[in-house]
Symmetry: C2
Subunit: 344 residues, 2 copies
């Protein structure tokens, strides 16, 4: 399979991308990486990681969307026909069928906009869903939307649930993913107008909908998929990351406060390392932008080479698992359901 | 001062309330507690904590709103003229001026509804704001609304900011509290329609508005007050609590995984105890329901006697600091501002 890797994505690009690409092709014989970016910068890094490889093809891109780009600059770089950004060139390769998927650890808004303008949406999809895997007790939970759509309708949430279920089957290996609707209270009837509107749609969807969920259920591992609007999802994601950081900082401060606790910290180090690994976004690597007409995976801006390899691994699984076709079918199924219920 | 303490509030009521009341009156000579609840159950517990006290008056209430009450049952108990719940009787005492404030560790929806029906709102207030103190780096942040109003308008958020600033001055002791608007991105212009509508109102409010904030700023201690709608606030609160619990559970699991890390955990125990205390809602005790026409404080359902004493302490400070009058003035000031800007 051919995977486009955006060489100009991560905070310290293109170093992690070059190392990640060369590591990945040596690990998986079926992977061919199209490394898109500033060719001379990429080429000069190759010798540091074993040199050129027949399954790593360099594709030059004169421009890039940086982490600082936003607003009109970003929109123009994403939309203009003659855009030479690594994202635009990479996604055009996917669009023309010259690559099976696109993966980048770059500017999320840039990936989102470029995908929207270049690849468009799958037939029937109203809004793309930005997805992530939250670490929860016992594993992970697929959460969407985490920021693509600050305003949503109940129908958008239904589509997120259908697409998220398809992805949970693939990524978490569960047969009948449990779907939860994020709300301010578990009881049916709780929620804002959006949640109250989405609840009956999810109940009638044929998905394994278990009802409203709060943080306790979500982080306790009670659902495999949790859907919400992009505003709430983004606030939840950022808060969760910030709370985890606050706790880590406070633990460190308290542990460093006396010789006794310092010794304790030293002995307990393997446990803290294991915790860090459990919560490390690098382990997941990347998550899909669901609903666009092409496989697009987004990694963390802080990705190192290990995270890039994980991202390639995740993207490879999605190609093997025919994620795009499965998402397309799930959306058609929901549209048929809705039509049937309306005609009754 | 006379403080009403709902004896039938906490999960294990009335035990923590009885112990808390008797401890509080011995600690503060100016505090007189009106302990409202099932008088015989309360009376039989008195000897366990030093017996009756001249500054603890028992007021009988034949009924109570339990943690399980919801929907119509709850609404009727809150609203009916002849309601004999401890919350209704207690708040009527405040309304008639026979007590200075009401505090309960009971059903939040019950306190909210009873306050709304019995005390009403302060003149000019559109919606009451359910408030909490989030533990953040270096202290606390006043956050509202955390659940009273799942749907809000920009004007509601402006009022929350004005009321929250007043409370932050009192509770955190800061002169000019920094106010943040919770959003999915720091830049002005980011947010859902509500945030985009509230931003200019906050900018023109005369409050110390520092702009949009995300989890990083909030939990990093960059603001003293953070405002949001009750849906988002509630989801944030529950998620944050759940993430903290997940991390605690994972740390414990990893620490118990080998003899070395077990020994480390034993030595590091003082650090973990300090962390627990930092994040313990019992330390804060209670937070106000802002905007109702009377001082109403809500404690955690899991309150123990220590938490009840903290709740009484917090409520006592609010009486001493004339919180109700200050909130009323802040609302009038904002209304005058709005009127002036409209007439320009």
């Amino acid at each position: 399979m051919k995977l486009v890797l955006d060489a100009m994505g991560s905070d310290t690009c293109p170093l992690p991308e070059v190392e990640g690409a060369l590591t990945a092709v040596r690990r998986w014989e079926d992977v061919h990486v199209l490394l898109v970016g500033d060719e001379s910068r990429v080429r000069e890094l190759l010798p540091r990681f074993g040199g050129a490889h027949p399954r790593v093809t360099l594709v030059h891109a004169a421009d890039a969307i940086t982490m600082q780009d936003k607003g009109l600059t970003l929109a123009l770089k994403a939309k203009r026909k003659d855009s030479q950004t690594s994202m635009a060139i990479g996604m055009e390769l996917v669009k023309r069928g010259e690559a099976d998927a696109f993966v980048s650890a770059g500017n999320t808004g840039g990936i989102l906009s470029t995908a929207y303008f270049r690849l468009g949406l799958l037939p029937g999809v109203e809004r793309p869903g930005l997805t992530t895997l939250f670490p929860v007790h016992g594993g992970y939970c697929v959460v969407l939307d985490i920021g693509a759509n600050p305003e949503c309708t109940p129908e958008h949430l239904l589509q997120f649930a259908a697409m998220g279920s398809v992805y949970a089957k693939l990524a978490l290996g569960v047969d009948n993913p449990r779907v939860g609707l994020i709300s301010n209270g578990e009881e049916p009837g709780k929620g804002n107008d959006l949640v109250k509107g989405a609840f009956p749609l999810l109940e009638a969807s044929g998905l394994n909908f278990i009802g409203n969920v709060e943080g306790k259920e979500l982080f306790g591992g009670a659902v495999d998929v949790a859907v919400t609007d992009g505003f709430t999802g983004n606030v939840m994601l950022k808060s969760s990351e910030a709370v985890a950081k606050l706790m880590t900082d406070l633990i460190k401060e308290h542990l460093m406060s006396s010789p006794r606790t310092k010794l304790g910290a030293l002995l307990a180090k393997p446990a803290f390392d294991a915790l860090k690994k459990t919560l490390d976004p690098h382990e997941v690597g990347a998550a899909p932008l669901l609903g666009v007409n092409g496989l697009v995976f987004i990694g963390h801006g802080r990705s190192n080479a290990h995270a890039i390899v994980s991202a390639i691994h995740t993207t490879r699984q999605a190609v093997q698992g025919h994620l795009l076709e499965a998402v397309g079918s799930a959306i058609q199924e929901q549209l048929a359901n809705l039509k049937q219920r309306e005609s009754v």
